[in-house]
Subunit: 386 residues, 2 copies
C-alpha cells in the first residue's frame, strides 16, 4: 500500500482571537431592509425548476473593510455587483461559500437544517484565505430575515426547498497578492426541486487517478472556490466517457465523489457490517450531511461506523468478493446519491442496488431519516424553525 | 528519497480543434474604441508607484457567450464590472490571468517582451478550466492598441514599466458547477516601478512543508486564480516569522519560491558548475522569465543547464558543503530575486551573496541581460516594438 502522510485540518484566524472584536462583529440590529419595487418573475411550475437558475427577490449584503470593519447589513432587491476589474476575487480566487437550504413543512413553517454547522465551516473557509472573521449567529439571523422576506419563494412539498448560497469575496482594488483589505459577504437564494424527482437514479463513477482534487498540505478541507475550478474539466471528461461523476483518489485512497462525501456499507475484513467514510484528514470537505449520516448511523447501531482511510484497490477487491452492500455520495444538494458502479483501471465494479427503489435499503433509510427531520416530520434540534 | 510520480502538464481544449472556429475567434477589426472623457489622476512622482495600485485610463474588454461566440472587442475608460452575484467567477474560481509588461525604451518606443509566450500560457490556463479558446494574436493586438492609447502611462526609465493584466473570468449566471456558458476577457494596465529601486534586496526563505502549493494531478502548471488563494495564509505566516517568502516543497522536492520559479547555481555531485531549476512536470508554473533564463544560460555556455528534480535535503547538503554559489527566484515582477538564506527544519542555510551588488554575479548578469533586451539596449526578437 502507498504511504500517506496524515495531517489534521488546521484552523486559522486572521490575527484576532475573538469574533466579538468590533472590526469582526456584524451588528444585525443595524440591518437596513429595502423591499424590492420590481418583484422578479416567480416560478409557476415548480416541477420545472433548475438548480441555481432562478433567484428570489432579495439578497443579503454586508461589506467589510480593514479600517471600519463590518458595515450595516443590507437586505435589498437582488441586483448586480459592481466591482473594479482589479478586485482580488477576479485574480486570486479569494472567495468561499456555503450551500444550505430553507424548507417549508406541512404546516407552512419555514425551517433550516443545522445552520450553525454551515456557519462554522464558512468561518473556517474564510480564515484559511485570510478573509475577515464574523460572528456566526449574525449571519444565521440575516439568513432567517431573508428567507422570511422571500418565504413565497420556497416551493412547497417534500424534496423542494430554497437553496441558500452565503458567499464571501475579496474586493481589494489592488493587484498585490496578499490578504484583502476589503470584502463583501452576500447571501442569495434559489428555489430548487428534488434532486431525484422520479425516485433515485443511481450513478456510474470513474475512479480517474490522472486528476487529484485535494492533497495533504493543500486546502481540500475548506469550501473555497479554488477547490472547484480545477474539477470541471475532469468532470466533463468523465461525462464524455459516459460516467456521471469522478471518484476522486489520492495515492489510490478514496477521498470524495464529484462534490460529495463518499460512503460505503460493506462487510469488512473482520466480517463485520461497517459503514465507512474517509476521515477528516485535511483532504476531505467536512460535509454537514456527512456528519449527520455518521451521527444517525451511530444512533441506529445497526452497523459499525468508521471514519478511516481505504484504497480503491481495497474497495475493488471487496466489490469482487461480494462484500460491498451499498455505496453512496452525500451532500446538501442530493442528501444521498446511490452508486451503481465504479470504473477503475478500465474495469467495471458493479455495486448492488435495489431496482425497486433505485438505492440500497440503508441509503434509502438515510435519505428518509434526514428528510423527515428537514421537513419537520421527525422532531429534532437539527431542524430550526425560523 | 521519497518517490514522486511524474506527469507532464497536459493541455486541454474545449472540444474544438481550431481557434479559427467562429465562436472562438476574436475579430480585432471590429474593435470599438471609446476614449475616456474623464482621465484618471496620473502619477506625478514615479518613484512612489506601488505595484498594482493605480490603473491607466483605458481597459480592453471582450465578452463571449456559448451561442454567439466572442463579441466586438471594446477599449474604453477604466470602469467597474457589473456582474450578477450568481456569476460563477464568484463561486467556483473560474478565472485565469497573465502578468506581462510594456516598456519604454530610450528612444521613446513602446516594447513588449515575448508577448506570445504569455498568450500561449493564457490559452492553456483557460482551457484547463473550460473557459473559451481565442486566437492569441488578437489579444496581443488588443494589448498593443491599449498600450499605445495609454502610452503616457508608461513611466520612463530602466526598471519602470506598465504592468499588463490580461484576465479571463466566467460570467455564467447560474450556480450549477460546470463549464461556463459566458465569459469576459479583459486587460487592465498599471504603471509600476523597479522591484528593487535601490539595488537588489536578497531574501530569506522558509521551506515550510506544512503547506503544499501544487501536487501531481493538480492544476499547478496553469496560471489560475485558484493556485493563489491558498498561498496567502502560508505567506503571512512566513512573514510573521521574519521570512520574505515561502519555498514550496512537494514531498521535499523544491518546486517554486513565493510566486516565482526557483533557480540554483551549484557545483553538482559530478563537480560540474550547473544551473538547475525544477522541470515542467505539471506542478510548476511554466514561467516566461524561467524559459528566458534557461535559453540565455544555454547560449552563454558558461555552465551546465538542467531542468531536473532536486530535494530540499540535497540543496541543504550542497549549501553545507559550500557547493551552492547562488540561488534566485525568477518572475515577471522582479526578473530575479536573489536568495540569501533558506530556513529548513529549523536550521538556517546561508547562500553566498556579493554584498556590493546584493546578488551573485550570475544572478546579476541574468537580470541585466533580460533588462537590456526588454529596454531595447540589446537587439533581440524577444522584444517587440509596438
Amino acid at each position: 500500500m502507498l504511504s500517506r502522510v496524515f495531517s489534521a485540518p488546521r484552523l486559522f484566524s486572521r490575527g484576532f482571537s475573538s469574533a466579538t472584536n468590533d472590526k469582526y462583529f456584524i451588528n444585525v440590529n443595524d440591518t437596513i431592509v429595502e423591499k424590492t419595487k420590481a418583484p422578479l418573475q416567480k416560478f409557476t411550475d415548480k416541477s420545472k425548476l433548475i438548480f441555481g437558475k432562478d433567484f428570489s427577490d432579495h439578497m443579503v449584503e454586508v461589506a467589510w473593510d480593514s479600517e471600519k470593519g463590518w458595515g450595516a447589513p443590507k437586505i435589498s432587491a437582488y441586483h448586480n455587483l459592481s466591482l473594479p476589474p482589479s478586485a482580488s476575487v477576479f485574480h486570486y480566487a479569494l472567495e468561499c461559500f456555503e450551500g444550505m437550504k430553507a424548507y417549508k413543512d406541512s404546516k407552512g413553517n419555514v425551517r433550516l437544517f443545522r445552520p450553525m454547522e454551515n456557519m462554522n465551516r464558512f468561518l473556517s473557509s474564510a480564515s484559511r484565505i485570510c478573509l475577515p472573521s464574523f460572528n456566526k449567529e449574525a449571519v444565521v439571523e440575516l439568513i432567517k430575515k431573508l428567507v422570511l422576506l422571500d418565504k413565497d419563494w420556497i416551493p412547497e412539498g417534500r424534496g423542494y426547498s430554497l437553496y441558500l448560497r452565503p458567499t464571501l469575496i475579496a474586493t481589494q482594488k489592488s493587484l498585490g497578492v496578499g490578504a484583502s483589505n476589503s470584502a463583501l459577504l452576500f447571501v442569495i437564494a434559489s428555489p430548487v426541486g428534488p434532486y431525484y424527482p422520479e425516485g433515485f437514479k443511481p450513478v456510474r463513477l470513474i475512479a480517474d487517478d490522472r486528476y487529484v482534487r485535494a492533497w495533504t498540505g493543500g486546502p481540500g478541507a475548506y469550501k473555497l472556490g479554488s477547490n472547484y475550478a480545477p474539477t470541471i474539466f475532469p468532470q466533463l471528461d468523465a461525462a464524455k466517457k459516459g460516467f456521471s461523476q469522478v471518484l476522486w483518489l489520492l495515492n489510490d485512497y478514496v477521498t470524495e465523489v464529484g462534490t460529495m462525501n463518499m460512503f460505503v456499507l460493506w462487510k469488512n475484513n473482520q466480517d463485520e457490517l461497517e459503514l465507512v467514510t474517509p476521515p477528516l484528514d485535511g483532504t476531505i470537505l467536512p460535509g454537514v450531511t456527512r456528519d449527520s449520516i455518521l451521527k444517525l448511523a451511530r444512533q441506529w447501531g445497526t452497523c459499525k461506523v468508521s471514519e478511516k482511510l481505504f484504497t480503491m484497490a481495497e474497495l475493488a477487491k471487496a466489490i469482487k468478493e461480494g462484500r460491498v452492500k451499498e455505496a453512496f455520495g452525500a451532500g446538501t444538494a442530493a442528501i444521498v446519491s446511490p452508486i451503481k458502479s465504479i470504473n477503475y483501471k478500465g474495469e467495471e465494479y458493479p455495486i448492488p442496488i435495489d431496482e425497486q427503489i433505485g438505492a440500497g435499503p440503508f441509503t434509502n433509510k438515510v435519505a428518509n431519516a434526514i428528510m423527515d427531520i428537514q421537513y419537520g416530520e421527525t422532531d429534532s434540534d437539527w431542524s430550526v424553525v425560523v
